[in-house]
């Protein structure tokens, strides 16, 4: 088992990467931000941001949590100048966390070329100072791991997803934190899931939040279900849910959180990604990366991404470990995958063996080993308009109930 070393942060959390984020405050600043970061394509400089010109409390909260995420060491904010995003408030939050931060306003800096030059100068000096950052010992209990499935098929629920479930059981038993998600992809599992809640009230919350998700997606006229899911053998949302649910393992569920809400104690958490009330901003998450961004904003150091059809995405900020459920997909796309869970179907391994391999890969990733998607340069990031309210006390364990 590798010894973990983490970058210490002022809030007590530790990072397994030391990323500098270049953040566009509106789409109009996106190309400039990308140009600033372009010399660092193979380095830990990632572009994130928000495209909208109108203010969004959700996007602001997301970017606050992302810019002060333990895997982030510094932030450069790129503003056009006239957009609604409160750049100064975001900058002061980042500065208060002790991280180097700078704001460049394109309209004041003199346009594209001048802003790119100023941004690259700041990046060069900041990267040099981050290179000297000392790492400190980090325990498994300090790790937060999120999971998502993307491009699921009929194999996902019998290979990769249960393997993640075993890893979650081990991680939580070791005192760590595990987050599974997408209430809209747990439709049909609410009864079983609520029985795993640590309190009856939390169980009721889980049932009502999955009910809310089913209602929300029904009003949208489309479940969280893509055509590829059906081509891969999944017939209904509840069948997809049943497979997705296996990622949560078998242990007690300690709490429910909402996007950009960091779990207060270690344990197993359900991330409820569906907004309250009637649909207002569209689908809860427009694609897998919108969901990954939310898992990361909840503090996930690593994302375990299971796929049957074959996804290639990674993410800005936190490494994505790709667990391939389908042996035929693995044969076609092995370069994009970290773990071949589909070998269970070809007689080349058991669920326990795949789970052991995935646990080892997760720790090696935490110790600094690049994942397949990191190596291939995947740095996807998606953030759109949405509303989100933090889950209240009935959803969260109190410190006295914390898992040991």
């Amino acid at each position: 088992m590798p010894d973990l070393l983490g970058y210490p942060r002022s809030d007590g959390r530790k990072g397994i990467r030391n990323v500098t984020v270049v953040v566009y405050m509106v789409e109009c600043a996106h190309v400039v931000a990308t140009a600033i970061a372009s010399p660092y394509a193979d380095d830990e400089v990632h572009v994130i941001g928000f495209g909208g010109c109108y203010p969004s409390p959700y996007a602001h909260h997301m970017l606050e949590q992302l810019c002060t995420h333990p895997n982030v060491g510094a932030a450069l904010l790129i503003s056009l100048g006239c957009e609604g995003f409160n750049r100064e408030r975001l900058a002061s939050t980042i500065a208060a966390s002790g991280r180097p931060v700078n704001v460049l306003v394109i309209q004041e800096a003199g346009g594209t070329r001048a802003t790119v030059a100023a941004g690259r100068d700041w990046l060069a000096s900041t990267r040099a100072s981050l290179a000297a950052a000392e790492r400190v010992p980090m325990a498994i209990s300090e790790l937060v791991v999120g999971t998502i499935c993307g491009g699921s098929d009929g194999t996902s629920g019998i290979t990769a997803n249960p393997a993640v479930g075993r890893v979650f059981d081990r991680l939580v038993a070791a005192g760590g934190t595990a987050i599974f998600e997408e209430t809209g992809e747990l439709v049909g599992c609410e009864g079983h899931m609520s029985a795993r809640a640590v309190t009856p009230e939390l169980g009721r919350q889980i049932e009502s939040r999955v009910g809310k998700a089913a209602d929300y997606y029904s009003k949208m006229g489309h479940g969280s279900f893509a055509p590829g899911n059906a081509e891969g053998g999944l017939s209904t949302i509840e069948e997809k849910s049943l497979g997705a649910y296996a990622k949560s393992g078998s242990g007690p569920i300690h709490g429910v959180i909402t996007p950009a809400q960091v779990p207060p104690t270690p344990g197993l958490y359900l991330l409820d990604v569906v907004p309250e009330g009637d649909p207002r901003w569209g689908f809860p998450n427009i694609n897998d990366n919108a969901e990954i961004a939310e898992l990361i904003a909840c503090g996930s150091h690593i994302i375990l991404f299971t796929t049957g059809r074959g996804s290639v995405v990674g993410s800005a900020i936190s490494p994505v470990v790709k667990v391939c459920a389908n042996p035929q997909t693995y044969a076609r796309m092995s370069e994009d995958m970290d773990v071949n869970a589909g070998r269970m179907l070809t007689g080349d391994g058991t669920l326990d063996e795949v789970a052991d391999e995935l646990f080892d890969v997760t720790l090696a990733t935490a110790a600094g080993q690049p994942t397949a998607s990191e190596g291939l340069g995947h740095r996807e990031f998606v953030l759109t308009y949405k509303s989100s309210e933090p889950a209240g006390p009935s959803c969260l364990p109190t410190l006295s109930l914390s898992v040991r």
Partner: protein
């Protein structure tokens, strides 16, 4: 419900919970085969949990998918933008 761990050919015999089962049509990896008969309107069970209801009578060994199974929650879309004509 049985899940194909590899491509199954029509007429192939597999081991079901109640003994040998003849697969009626070709079934791709990850797709489902009925382990027993299911009547129209009856719940379809996978790993002990209902995954929807049968929209027509299904016999043992038959491929089960969107043509004979529908969600009890939210309808399923495919690349043609709608539910299969069942």
């Amino acid at each position: 419900m049985l899940i194909a761990a590899a491509l199954l050919r029509a007429g192939e015999t597999v081991t079901g919970p109640d003994g040998p089962l003849t697969v009626i049509q070709e079934v791709e990896l990850g797709h489902k085969v009925a382990a027993g008969a299911i009547a129209t309107g009856q719940k379809v069970i996978r790993f002990g949990m209902p995954i929807g209801s049968a929209t027509q009578d299904i016999v043992a060994g038959e491929w089960v998918h969107t043509h004979n199974l529908k969600s009890d929650y939210i309808r399923t879309f495919d690349h043609r933008g709608g539910e299969d004509d069942a």
